[in-house]
Amino acid sequence: MAQTVAQSTPTTPALPAKLPLKATAPWAAFFGILMLVLLYFVGAEQGATSVFSGTDVHEWVHDARHLLGFPCH
């Protein structure tokens, strides 16, 4: 790993190098949105708003929604 600090010993722990913003940004944009979509389906789908009609998604994750702190119904 080129960016890790060399010459580390147990008494002086190596401090990590920064990851360039340009390297992180595309991953953050794509996977960040994907993860938020997952959270939407766990936390809010078929509550205030619906992508799919019916209540199956809501009923399936009902207990998780209450215990994870989302407004459920």
Partner: protein
């Protein structure tokens, strides 16, 4: 090479999130489910019409709960890993492991505890059906505000550190965060939809159990992801410190 590191951290974050989700699921099932059942009992005793169950209670409290908590763990694990890629090496002189635990602690506070203090978790039968839109908007607004203010406070603290020193820069940044959150608490509308005669002790215990679920999730994530990140970013140091090669001297 750097992009590979980001990908490796993202994968490890999602795996650590899944594992932390399993721990949180155990807490949610053992600690939280009895209160969900009691609250549903209250709801049924006071309801005029009885709903038809689309998904049975036994499925909701096991497979349904597991789906929700595990997906939540994986999703937040991924998001936290991406935030970690931004934070690494930028939040002070911290090792990869310490950065992970600090990030998890801040995430627990900003994503959950701060919004929870204004709009706490509610068991079934607390909350009126026709206000779900308003309550959902307010809750997500509070989460968004809290996360944005936490990021802003962190960046402000970093800017102030060279002039004020790390200690006072942190004090100023945290104070700014607390004041801004206090204003949000004061100006956002109050939601109080606890039905009459709903047991206060049940509401309190349900909310504590919801808090315990999050505490376990984020503590587990911080420790697991921190270990994985340390091994990825600092392989030689961890090999030297490993208990197999040298007995730990803590």
């Amino acid at each position: 090479m750097n992009s590979t590191t980001v990908r490796s951290l993202l994968v490890r974050g999602m795996l650590a999130g899944l594992a932390a989700g399993v721990l949180a699921l155990v807490v949610a099932y053992l600690l939280g489910e009895p209160y969900v059942d009691q609250a549903i009992g209250f709801e049924e005793a006071h309801a005029h019409e009885h709903e038809i169950e689309a998904v049975s209670r036994s499925v909701q409290s096991t497979a349904g709960l597991a789906t929700g908590v595990l997906v939540y763990g994986v999703a937040f694990g991924g998001i936290a890993a991406l935030a970690y890629c931004f934070a690494l090496g930028r939040v002070g002189r911290l090792t990869p492991r310490a950065t992970a635990l600090l990030l998890s602690g801040c995430a627990l506070l900003a994503v959950y505890v701060v919004p929870f203090l204004k709009y706490p978790a509610n068991p079934p039968s607390v909350g009126e059906a026709d206000t779900i839109g308003k309550r959902t908007t307010l809750y997500f607004l509070m989460v968004l505000l809290s996360v944005l203010l936490a990021v802003a406070a962190t960046m402000a603290g970093k800017r102030l550190a060279p002039g004020l020193g790390t200690w006072w820069a942190t004090v100023v940044a945290v104070t700014g965060f607390v004041v801004a959150i206090g204003l949000a608490y004061a100006f956002l509308p109050v939601v109080n939809e606890v039905p009459q005669h709903f047991p206060a002790a049940l509401l309190w215990r349900f909310r504590l159990s919801a808090l315990a679920v999050q505490a376990v999730l984020w503590a587990g994530f911080g420790l697991l992801f921190g270990e994985l990140a340390e091994r990825l970013l600092n392989p030689r140091a961890t090999a030297v410190r490993s208990p197999h090669t040298a007995p730990a001297a803590n």
